[in-house]
């Protein structure tokens, strides 16, 4: 029996430690597994007994790539438990810092992690030898996103200025002015990124995905909206556990998120785009059409173009927020601890990030639950490998391995995040 095993022991250009294994038998893909060997860090365990207002800083440390997402899901879940709502300029500032993280994280993925797959390089530093201007544009775009996070948050990784109720210090209007100048350049660079990425060579592969993302209806979702799908799902974050579950897959010790009653789904840029195209700014919609994207896109290899469209939107939205900004009367809504249960779901660059906390009357955390996007996408990643790789089996091992890695990187998986909540396959065999 012809048997061929493609193994990638240490998946590069993803955040965290993972590998994958694809078994081919008689010319067909027999199994495809994404293995996660990131050591567990037990966040949900040690959050118990911590004060409610520590959650944003502690959960940020789950992921150095998307700390703002963790801070945002944490503050929204806590505010839900405490019965407060943040509105006006403070709400806008939260969208603004999220714009920064999307620009920074997406630019990193597009130019440094994903593009080398399409152009045949080991990484962006190799790629820079032949495509110096492209890589430099990517780095400057990433820097523009980081400048937003740094101004609002104090630093780009693990920002220190986010708190429940708002911020420790709100920026002065004049502090935002220089940022706007950089963002005008970034918006042009993002437009260029959409055009450039659409010229890459995409395998024509599509599946009938169930897309899950927030939908707000009036704005492209960052912090707020209902959890929605292209198959009629429309629920509040508080109902998440009624509809989704983490199941144990027999051949792996990793938990996969699925719909209760079965069915995998995809979360992230592709899902957001498919569910919220009408809420993109006119500039982003036009750029998407010009790049050959329809209102719906089910080819995960084209996610690099969708990310570029989201970068363009985030630049556009950041400029809108900065020009409309009025300094708030106070940097945060005052909060008092009380017993309660709170739920929050926001859109991390990689997709839906769900937090749930139960608080004691003194504000100490009694229970914490966090579901990051990569654990939700893991089942979909494996299904993509199983259904797409079959067409590439004629390739030599090395190229096939590369194609498998590219298929995983379509999701921009953040393994550092997901492993903290997954049961791990620790068979390192």
């Amino acid at each position: 029996m012809a048997r061929r095993t493609i193994k990638v022991d240490y998946l590069a250009r993803v955040e965290g430690e993972g590998g994958l294994k694809v078994v081919v038998r008689d010319g067909k893909v027999a199994s495809a597994e994404l293995n996660i060997f990131e050591p567990p860090r037990f966040f949900e365990a040690f959050l118990r007994g911590r004060a409610f207002n520590e959650a944003p800083d502690i959960t940020a440390r789950i992921c150095g790539i998307c700390p703002v997402a963790y801070q945002m899901s944490a503050v929204h879940a806590m505010e839900n438990a405490l019965g407060i709502t943040v509105t006006g300029s403070l709400r806008d500032l939260r969208r603004l810092i999220y714009c920064g993280e999307w620009i920074e994280s997406h630019a990193l993925h597009i130019y440094m992690l994903h593009a080398p797959d399409f152009l045949g390089y080991e990484g962006a530093i190799d790629m820079a030898r032949d495509h110096g201007d492209v890589v430099r544009r990517g780095l400057s775009l990433k820097q523009a996103g980081n400048e937003i996070v740094t101004l609002l948050g104090g630093r780009e990784i693990h920002p220190i200025n986010v708190r429940i109720g708002g911020f420790y210090r709100a920026p002065r209007k004049r502090e935002l002015a220089p940022l706007a100048e950089k963002l005008k350049w970034a918006r042009d660079a993002a437009l260029e990124t959409v055009r450039w990425s659409s010229s890459l060579d995409f395998p024509e592969r599509e599946r009938d995905y169930t897309f899950v993302a927030l939908r707000h209806g009036k704005e492209y979702p960052f912090n707020e909206g209902r959890i929605s799908s292209n198959r009629g799902l429309d629920i509040a974050a508080a109902e998440y556990d009624d509809h989704f579950e983490e199941t144990h897959v027999e051949r792996s010790t990793a938990l996969h998120s699925r719909f209760k009653g079965g069915g995998t789904y995809l979360t992230g840029p592709l899902a957001r785009y498919n569910l919220n195209f009408d809420c993109l700014s006119p500039l982003a919609q036009d750029a998407a059409r010009e790049a050959g994207l329809e209102r719906n896109c089910s080819n995960p290899y084209r996610s690099i173009v969708v990310r570029a469209v989201e970068v363009l939107y985030a630049c556009d939205e950041a400029l809108r927020i900065i020009s409309a900004y009025e300094e708030p009367d106070r940097p945060a809504v005052p909060v008092e601890p009380c017993a309660g249960s709170g739920y929050g779901a926001t859109e991390a660059p990689r997709g839906l990030l769900y937090h749930h906390y139960r608080l004691e009357s003194d504000g100490l955390i009694a229970q914490a639950r966090i579901v990051p996007p990569t654990s939700q996408n893991q089942a979909s990643i494996e299904e993509d490998l199983a259904s797409y790789i079959g067409d590439f089996l004629d390739l030599p091992d090395d190229e096939l391995r590369h194609r498998c890695e590219q298929t995983v990187r379509n999701y921009d998986p953040c393994i550092s995040c997901s492993a903290h909540f997954l049961r791990l396959d620790l068979d390192r065999g």
Binding site: Y10, L11, A12, R13, V14, E15, G16, E17, E38, P39, P40, R41, F42, F43, E44, A45, F46, A51, E54, R61, I62, C63, G64, I65, P67, M112, P116, E122, G123, A124, I125, D126, A128, G132, V135, R136, L139, K142, Q143, N146, G154, R155, I157, H158, I160, N161, R163, F167, Y168, R169, H248, T253, P331, E405, S416, H420, R423, L424, L426, R428
Partner: protein
């Protein structure tokens, strides 16, 4: 004919961590390509799939040791590295995951995982220096990317890195910040915390929360006394020292003096 210049080989390793410190290197947007020209990036899986097996001139190590396998792996990294620099709070003190050192790790595993018997983990999270000799420790959760560039440059120039070991208080004075604790009564760990961040939190009207770990020769008990006068109860006092550098000795000792 001039012989080809030897470019020092740089490797970046990851243990239990959030990836943020190694991301700081990729966040050096203006310097990254120049750095890549000055050194040969021989192993950096977050950035490139290309690897060079062998020996490395500088190894940057992120993350703490939490599994038996990682306790072995760090020995191999040490053997193959001329200079080994730890980057960040996890590698330098054990990180936030060292909160398990004060708890029962089996109980932790049973809270997070339905089948805790699958989890092969150590009872403690420990810094790299507990396992192998370390040439330099760069602090911070996350590290300051300017300091990271300074450390790499220093080793390329075979000199000692310049990273002051005084407190965040000194950084506030240098910056001209009004003291948040004296002026506003805001609890602040600045007096005992290692410099490096540029006094970020006080610059944003917030007290320092100690993410750079203890300064050289800190004197924590008088600070705790002042924090208690400001209204901090014993349990909160224990928690403020038990965060991202909970396992760093001065913070661990001070945390053990407080609690329920």
């Amino acid at each position: 004919m001039v012989a080809a210049r030897h470019r020092p080989r740089l490797a970046v390793w990851k243990f239990a961590s959030c990836d943020g410190c190694q991301l700081s290197l990729l966040d050096c947007e203006d310097e990254l390509l120049a750095m890549a020209a000055a050194v040969e990036i021989a192993y950096f899986p977050e950035a490139t799939r290309g690897t060079i097996v062998g020996r490395y001139d500088i190894s940057l190590v992120e993350g703490s040791i939490t599994t038996p396998h990682d306790a072995q792996r760090i020995r191999d990294v040490r053997q193959r590295s001329r200079v080994l620099v730890t980057i960040g709070a996890c590698a330098t003190s054990g990180g936030i995951q060292a909160l398990r050192n004060f708890a029962d790790v089996q109980e932790y595993a049973s809270v997070v995982y339905a089948r805790p018997e699958f989890i092969n983990t150590l009872a403690s999270s420990t810094p790299i220096a507990d396992h192998v000799p370390v040439d330099f420790e760069l602090r911070g959760c996350p590290i300051n990317k300017r300091q990271a560039l300074e450390v790499i440059s220093a080793y390329l120039a075979t000199r000692q890195p310049v990273t002051p070991s005084h407190s965040v208080c000194i950084e506030c004075k240098l910056k001209g910040n009004v003291c948040v604790m004296v002026a506003h009564g805001t609890p602040c760990l600045g007096p005992v915390t290692h410099a490096g961040c540029g006094a970020l939190c006080p610059s944003y009207d917030r007290g320092c929360y100690g993410c750079y770990g203890p300064k050289e020769t800190p004197n924590a008990p008088p600070l705790s006394q002042r924090l208690a006068e400001l209204g901090m109860d014993e349990c909160t006092l224990q928690r403020v020292y038990r965060s991202f550098n909970a396992n760093a000795e001065p913070f661990r000792e001070e945390s053990e003096r407080h609690g329920p």
